[in-house]
Symmetry: C2
Subunit: 556 residues, 2 copies
Amino acid sequence: MPNGAQAMLATLVKAGVEVCFTNPGTSEMHFVAALDDEPGMRAVLTLFEGVATGAADGYARMAGKPAATLLHLGCGLGNGLANLHNARKARTPVVNIVGDHATYHVAYDAQLQSDIVTVARNVSTWVRSATTTAGLGQDVVEAVSTAMGPPGQVATLIVPADVSWGDGGQVLPPLPPRPPTPVPAAQIDALAEVCRGKARTVMLLGGRALRGEALTLAARIAAQHNITLLAEVFPARIERGAGLPHVERLAYFAEMASVQLHGVRHLILVDAKAPVSFFAYPGKKSYLVPDSCLVHELAVADQDVVAALIALAQRLGAEATPPCLQEAVRPELPTGPLSAEKVCKAVGHLLPPEAIIVDEAQTAGVTLPMHTAGAAAHDVLTLTGGAIGQGLPVAVGAAIACPERPVLALIGDGSAMYTVQSLWTLAREHLSVTVVILNNRSYAILNVELQRVGARAGDGANGGAKARAQLDLQHPAIDFVQLGQSMGIDSVRCSTAEDFNQALQRCLSQHGPHLIEALIPNDLSGMKLRLLPHLLRSLKHLPQPVARLVKSKVAP
Amino acid sequence: MPNGAQAMLATLVKAGVEVCFTNPGTSEMHFVAALDDEPGMRAVLTLFEGVATGAADGYARMAGKPAATLLHLGCGLGNGLANLHNARKARTPVVNIVGDHATYHVAYDAQLQSDIVTVARNVSTWVRSATTTAGLGQDVVEAVSTAMGPPGQVATLIVPADVSWGDGGQVLPPLPPRPPTPVPAAQIDALAEVCRGKARTVMLLGGRALRGEALTLAARIAAQHNITLLAEVFPARIERGAGLPHVERLAYFAEMASVQLHGVRHLILVDAKAPVSFFAYPGKKSYLVPDSCLVHELAVADQDVVAALIALAQRLGAEATPPCLQEAVRPELPTGPLSAEKVCKAVGHLLPPEAIIVDEAQTAGVTLPMHTAGAAAHDVLTLTGGAIGQGLPVAVGAAIACPERPVLALIGDGSAMYTVQSLWTLAREHLSVTVVILNNRSYAILNVELQRVGARAGDGANGGAKARAQLDLQHPAIDFVQLGQSMGIDSVRCSTAEDFNQALQRCLSQHGPHLIEALIPNDLSGMKLRLLPHLLRSLKHLPQPVARLVKSKVAP
């Protein structure tokens, strides 16, 4: 009969959990030892728990099923918390296995003793501390079932060391899938009425509505009834590119999102939340839905999004309406000194088929959606929970879920440093990920935010010298080529578009991990002015009133 | 009248909080902007929150007063949690300032919304979410007062953005220091009786008892009554070296600690806990105090340790008894291929006066206490809470607290990677820290633990191939020289003792940060055998029965 750890691993594998992202300690040694008894489980070592949890997020976004993490007590879980927060906001299924002291050891308040349940609650809808070896199999199948949802959730199983090492583990089959909650027919009827109306209507797609059949159904309905499709600001995963429906994302900056939503009378939420600003700003509204707009929900998190869209399309007779599909158009290859926008253009020009883009480029990625809109069909994974340091780990997980697809991770320099240990796991597992570090040597977004919150001090609106120093990453400048090489990754630096084009083409065509440090200017004084033309261009497909409004706002 | 952030900063400075370790985001921009109005506050930027919290721990251990941290909502606090755990276990005073969404923004569950209080509770004895700008000054003085203790604590003040940016902040003077709880005279009398007795007695010193006057008083009492002094396994700060009382530390491995405690009839705890094993192991006891031993407490966390020791020394007439002091003896400089022990010998030989050693060398540092015992007087800061990734941040903080003292951080390769971003702050602030990475390309301690927990799988007691791979950091090997240089730090690699001696001497004599990668063998098969002779040598000053017992146990 297996011990607890062996039964736990076998039960996970039976439930389809085949990958575990680990950073183990002594209390997890029996789990580690049991790996050799379970050929169905791949254990991917990380050097920091935030890499493990972010990788589990990226894996599940692409694989459609959870990975496990293996974390060392409350502190290991704590280190993984930020990316579990992102996973929670993405509704990603994740199963955390957190080792704990043996049950009888807790009384002694040893050095690593802490309240693990409290930490776990912050991100997990399901937390259980296993109490018996015999019950561990049941704990595991419930954890996996909860994680799978719908909706996808973070489930955390805390496993005391003696429960792991005890004899008498039970290997159990998985629980049956949980059916989604049906959307009532009356609700479909009501929404069909809204769609048929003449008032300006936006369908805001989020979560599962941004992929595959759901996306196409939404596009058919939109085409038939002149409805504008928008995507939530930070989708967990969005399918886009040539041949797929084009959906603008709602802007991060509330000022711009308000423009996108201006004049809308009906907002239909499809697995999405009503839009709010990312942060609050003095004197500005947090809730971005116009006062005169009615908000409707087609499908929420625990409902079947595809079924709801099928029902709506049928009610509207839109099942066969041709959706508006994105043409295959790509930007020219850029030339001259490198800039953030030129990086985005080069990506748009060179993106290979089936690519997965992980976007944590922050300000440097503002024009990425525009320049990649007509590239070969691809997936984009974004920063769902706003906790930066997500991109590199998510790329690790996505590459493990989809070994045949090229992964392109576009990461701001500041973001990269939170979970820079990801580079080691990329090298260790020889994952086909091209990391582009957009290095403007600054927390550039915070320079914008410093202005937006109206914080004025010292010598003006941009803050005094001490304030500005808090946003400055020039002293010392980080050498990302050395950093990448230190962890075994082929790395190059580019400061011209020509060099970058060549490097990107080479890296995307070769297996294994690569890093390109793209040196780009930190052109903050021009930031606000430069943003608005991009916004205009990105809004060119929206109905005229909105575009006109933007124009009238821009003209000084 | 100042805004909330300005009042908060001014109140912190009035209370003696002069350093803030930061990783701010948008919700902290008013705090950042206010820095230029407050010349008394030094803001030290970090690239990851675990660096900020660990630095605050290191700073307060040396400065004897708290630093503040500035963290971005629940996720920023989460990233800092592991080192706050270490600070909590060290009883270090820390004041966390955690920015939050504006009070009215919380209702919208924006991307970064999470339950900050829950995360904070895990490590903080005091948590408050500020509600008004006018009340913020009072919140700050209470936070600082709580942090100062006694005992030192982690206090977390959550500050919504609108409380920061609101007008009408109040700058308040600090609260008066809180007096410690007195130790009753009857308790002193009872302990004096124990000390006068003939039964074998150990005084276990922890916390504040390992420094200055308290340490000398304990040594006087020990000398007068043939009492053995031991130090807790992982002291927050211990003063040692030539001319100071020599105190053996209790061993990390329970097997060895049991030897140190064998035959003890009275254990007097002075600001220390009764010893327990770090982890539980199948079939082994967690509580390490022998069954026949009585445990007594002289002073606990909220009591005045020095006053209690003065009272006891007076009762015993030991005020003028000469303590046993450590002679000035240093090991010879090592030669030949480098090893962990040779690194420790070189440190013992070369340690400059007034040094601060930060010890997170794990297995590689087993002989460090022995080889540095007779070096110039120094402080050692250790891994109090077992959450690795503490050493580099603590070195940052210690160097800022004591700019005139050389800091030597001895860090295992695995440990270094958790908070490797510390290197950037070392370079940015030009701190005189010499980082020695003891690189055995392994989580070496876990190889030992895998054996100790009795986890056997696959091909034997050392685990199967998958298990061993989880503890292996060779593939790829991390190049710490490139890693250090990538963040602006002068870095060299040494694989011979001669090179290491030279590098260490040079680095310790020059201002600013340096990194030495010490390549050492991962000699695990010999680990257990090699440990025991060191234990014997380190126990040579203990009364004979213990040393004899060790010998009898070692003889195979």
